[in-house]
């Protein structure tokens, strides 16, 4: 791809700056965000969710709910030879 083509792709790129918790895109609980600029030319790329304690609490609670007991290297029962 030429530089021009990459610039065209960049201009069309849909960028989502929301957090990703429990399989879903979400804004910060506080609704706060920050601007993410590109160092290439100073263009604004996206508004990004400004996570804090509340968002970390939600993500950790979600992560905890997915943990279980057992070995680290178990295989699925139906694993074929």
């Amino acid at each position: 791809m030429t530089g021009l083509q990459w610039h065209e792709r960049a201009a069309k790129l849909a960028i989502d700056g929301r957090a990703f918790i429990n399989g879903q895109r979400v804004w910060a609980v506080s609704q706060q965000s920050f601007d993410d600029y590109s160092p290439i030319d100073g263009r604004l790329l996206a508004q990004v969710a400004r996570g804090d304690v509340a968002d970390i609490d939600a993500a950790v609670a979600c992560a905890r709910s997915k943990t279980g007991a057992g070995p680290a290297n178990r295989r699925p029962r139906a694993s074929a030879p």
Binding site: G3, I15, G23, P39, I40, R50, D57, V60, P71
Partner: protein, 405 residues
């Protein structure tokens, strides 16, 4: 990841300024390979039975630690994310990843792609934000079992403190460096040594924890070395990162640009001889660029020889005695990497043993593979990323002691 390779490469380049050439050829494939490697490795790992007395059976099994928090920097956003999440997820943990506020986009997209690829919902979460807010909340959290951090030594110290003041979560840090590259007069190829010294310090705009930022050249070959090195400099002039011919892109932001320019001023003021660069470049672009900068006649007391600059600035020192070069190389709080170039096997091995670093390169600097551990000693951190050893960070050993008869 490979299906979305172009998009991920573009996000990486736009967000932190590295050349698209390398986002495509290095960052995306290396991150994808890391994830594949741990996915393939985990069911080849066996547990142990301890050699106890006949009346008992003692099983030693590995279990996931539980919830892993990962905080990664902006210089290699995808690769650093992969180095943390791949072994952590493969070992059966759930992960909350906090990417740098300077480069959060590729990690957020990675989480979506992971879900599409079959990672169960909620097992891999990404929360962007600032270090003192989201990062601190993760490191202080009472229900996070392990925090894995890559970043500066100053923040690494805070991570360990926060782990200690909360729930004593396991804390693993991969921190700064001031890696020494020692080139002896009997190096096997002067051209190869020059090419690696220059290519490695300017790769990724010098924004690499393992950049060989202190170059020690034996006095008898110093001028010849410098002549060859200076001849390479035009190749590393910064260009548009979205042009595939560009090999040096933008500095990550205004703050980092200011830090690096401050070090360049300190180098000049401290009496080092500026032989290339030292100036901002592409000033009309609206972005942040610095010409590849080389200081000669640096001595070990100067700030540019002691502190991690994290920019395209090389400090050249000279030596006459290899033992003295190794002593100077070790005279730093850091211990991430080091290199020695010589065709004398004894000198190479003795130096490699004496150098206090997590990795010592001999007659090369850039070789790399998923199979080898990456990390530092002293204030460059603890624990290792990559290789099967990284699994140790994200698992606990359980002993199950069974009485027989």
């Amino acid at each position: 990841m490979l299906q979305h390779a172009e998009e991920l490469a573009l996000l990486e380049t736009l967000d932190m300024g590295k050349p698209i050439k390398y986002s495509q050829s290095v960052d995306v494939p290396a991150a994808a390979n890391c994830i594949r490697w741990y996915g393939e490795a985990i069911d080849k790992m066996y547990d142990e039975i301890a050699p106890t007395a006949e009346s008992s059976l003692a099983l030693i099994t590995r279990e996931p630690v539980g919830v892993v928090g990962a905080i990664v920097p902006w210089n290699y956003p995808l690769i650093m994310s992969a180095w943390k999440i791949a072994p952590a997820l493969a070992a059966g943990n759930s992960v909350v990843l906090k990417p740098s506020e300077k480069s959060p986009l590729s990690a957020l997209r990675l989480a979506e792609i992971a879900l599409e690829a079959g990672i169960p919902v909620g097992v891999f979460n990404v929360v962007p934000g600032y270090g003192h807010e989201a990062g601190a909340a993760l490191a202080l959290h009472m229900d996070v079992d392990c925090i894995a951090f890559t970043g500066s030594t100053a923040v690494g110290k805070k991570i360990l403190q926060m782990a200690g003041q909360s729930n004593l979560k396991r804390a693993w840090t991969e921190l700064g460096g001031k890696s020494a590259n020692i080139v002896c007069a009997d190096c096997p190829s002067l051209d190869a040594a020059v090419s690696a010294a220059i290519g490695s310090i300017y790769f990724n705009q010098g924004e690499s924890c393992n950049a060989p930022s202190r170059l020690f050249v034996e006095a008898s070959i110093k001028e010849q070395f410098m002549e060859k090195a200076l001849a390479l400099m035009p190749r590393f002039q910064p260009g548009d990162p979205l042009d595939e011919a560009t090999v040096m892109g933008a500095i990550v932001d205004a703050a980092q640009m200011q830090t690096v320019m401050g070090y360049i001023e300190a180098g000049k003021a401290g009496g080092a001889r500026l032989r290339s660069g030292g100036t901002a470049a592409r000033v009309d672009s609206g972005g942040f660029y610095i010409a590849p900068t080389l200081f000669d006649q640096v001595d070990g007391t100067m700030r540019i020889a002691r502190e991690e600059i994290f920019g395209p600035v090389l400090s050249v020192l000279s030596f006459t005695d290899i033992k003295d070069a190794v002593r100077q190389a070790n005279a730093t709080p850091y211990g991430l990497q080091a290199a020695v170039w010589t065709r004398d096997l004894t000198k190479a091995i003795q130096s490699a043993r004496a150098l206090r670093a997590g990795t010592v390169h001999v007659n090369q600097y850039d070789n790399d593979d998923m199979t080898v551990p990456f990390g530092g000693v002293k204030q460059s951190g603890n624990g290792r990323d990559k290789s099967l050893h990284a699994i140790d960070k994200y698992t606990e050993l359980k002993t199950t002691w069974i009485q027989i008869g």
